[in-house]
Point group: C2
Chain length 255, copies 2
């Protein structure tokens, strides 16, 4: 099996290195990742400047090399599949992201976008996130990822399959299991902090705190992770609202 | 009615100015848009630097002012709704984009992402694109947009409603009507052009040509626009693949 690894935290990030460490013994692993952090880059792609690729030494246990790209996670997958690799990989794993990619936040996620790019090429893809910005073991998360890959790979996966995986920052023995869950809705409060620079001009920092929604069940990714489960959500790239499609057809819109 | 306008081509782009021209007589119009072109920015948001807002004179018929933001289209909507406006707008119109936003390409679209940002706030939003990179009249496209807004506004719209509108680059009398259509699949060939710089180092330009898929019907946005119809697609923000959700639950994944 040939696995392509990418991320949005950059090629030096501990999350991707932990995947290299656990996957190299079981598969051929290729790393093509941004040369620096590209978090919250969404599904951005780079049209306005050329892309450069540099071969770099990985900070992994067994050494090895990877390709650092001066672009977004989506650029990395496009470039790997269409320019760098002689054959498409069997699987793309994007991550392990530092921080959760849950609910509507997946829309902003470079990690998930890289995996969407993979399924647009018809390659099974997994996006993996460690649901914490502070403490948490990437080594444990990488072991969980390896376990999941083993179980998924035995299935006859439909084409264009993407699984979005979020792992709570708990020791292995405290993880309660896996919940297959739909995406929830993440709401933020205090989204902007307004400040003044030394010359008195206003500027804004984007931030905000998640609005805690106590009623979220384990059937929703946010609730599952909160309760100590690894959430697994199948994601697709079709944003059509089919329910509304039927309704809008009855409106008789005309020019 | 209070309409917020934004785009990804920048606040000086003819597409957004044409909307200011046709909508100012029928509504209160506020413009909050990127200070420069931010095409293909996807749903990127700006965390790593503060956002600045500058009041600028619009190049519109009736003059007027707008806010230019050093961020992405999504940043503009967030900033408008959560920091600049005292009340949320009744409607957000994103565009008119120079170039189509059809099928899977909506994933990369800053124009559509701004509208998704709007519906995340529960504000009805419309993304509008003129489906050409060369000739085509933004004035005609703006008239079409105005007509659509009038018809949509009479409906009791469900919350979180987004309509993605693509207008063929035809004179008004050659537009064949409106088709409510689902998103298609856009495939590209020759995605990268490999070149060498004067020092012999390789670099890549992202490009590619759309693979023409003759069989696309009018029920798909790509086919509808190709046949001269204005395509209208309801879009939502839930990327959960519900069909696969059921199946993955039967897999018995475990740690």
């Amino acid at each position: 099996m040939h696995i392509l690894l990418t991320n949005d935290d950059g090629i030096d990030a501990p999350g991707i290195i932990s995947l290299v460490n656990v996957l190299t013994p079981i598969a051929k692993v290729t790393v093509v990742a941004p040369d620096r952090e590209r978090s919250a880059s969404g599904h951005a792609i780079t049209f306005h400047k050329p892309l450069r690729v540099e071969e770099v030494r990985l900070n992994a246990e067994g050494g090895g090399k990877g390709w650092a790209v001066n672009g977004t996670p989506s650029d990395c997958v496009k470039l790997a599949v269409k320019a760098l690799l002689s054959h498409p990989p069997d699987l793309i794993v994007s991550g392990i992201n530092r921080g959760p990619n849950l609910g509507t936040d997946v829309l902003y996620s470079g990690t998930v976008s890289a995996a969407i790019e993979g399924i647009l090429f018809g390659i099974t893809s997994i996006a993996v996130s460690l649901a914490t910005f502070t403490e948490g073991s990437f080594a444990t998360a990488a072991q969980v990822t390896k376990t999941l890959i083993g179980q998924i790979w035995d299935r006859s996966l439909p084409p264009h399959t993407l699984l979005n995986v979020n792992i709570p920052p708990l020791p292995r023995h405290k993880l309660r299991g896996i919940r297959v869950a739909r995406l929830g809705f993440r709401e933020y409060k205090n989204i902007f902090e307004e400040r003044r620079d030394p010359r008195g001009r206003v500027y804004y920092w984007l931030g905000g705190q998640v609005v805690d929604c106590a009623k979220e069940s384990e059937d929703i990714d946010i609730g599952a992770v909160k309760k100590g489960y690894v959430s697994v959500t199948p994601v697709h790239f079709d944003l059509t609202n089919y329910a509304l499609l039927k309704e809008v057809k009855t409106w008789g819109l005309s020019l």
